[in-house]
Subunit: 120 residues, 2 copies
Amino acid sequence: MFDETLSNIVNRTDGAVGALIMGLDGIPVARIDKPDVGFDIDVIAAEFTALIRKVLRNAEDVAVGPLHELIVTAERHTFLIKPITVDYFLVLALRDSGGVGRARFELRKAQLMLEEEFSV
Amino acid sequence: MFDETLSNIVNRTDGAVGALIMGLDGIPVARIDKPDVGFDIDVIAAEFTALIRKVLRNAEDVAVGPLHELIVTAERHTFLIKPITVDYFLVLALRDSGGVGRARFELRKAQLMLEEEFSV
């Protein structure tokens, strides 16, 4: 079920090389990566857990409201990170920044679907 | 000079409420904020310095290349963060995410201009 959701996101987004559902406790729930992903997706997962925790804490501190989305553009990859509930988040890795628009749309759809699953 | 660059970015971008040039050591270099900015821009500046340090370290760790851009979308505000050189970065705060496309363009232009100033 989760794998299918992640596969759909990766298949529909140009340049997508991997997708993850992560718990904020650092434990991955589901994961899809293409053979040409180009980096260690486990390392990415761990780094982003720490990062999103920090951002969530910041967002609270500065009263800008709950976090909706985080986009990290590096030279070779772009990462979109989207909270599902307060305890889980989605990560999508793209090979370049070409597909960011479509990626945001797919993540928004997936978030709405997954939110229900994870709230029970 | 820096204030003018920041003013230009804020004036040309729909929904922009503030812009900063920050050192990675946490010391702000220049700052423009509108009266209706809606949050404490000093707190934001401090938080983002810690955040961008973390992201720069991550980007190095996971071999995805140098950071080009970071976009944080919260409920009430969106923040675009762009490194100028290895020691300085730009922050642009928007009231909502409407003007993100234009904001990215203005930051890219500003980055190219400022890069020269900050490299001397």
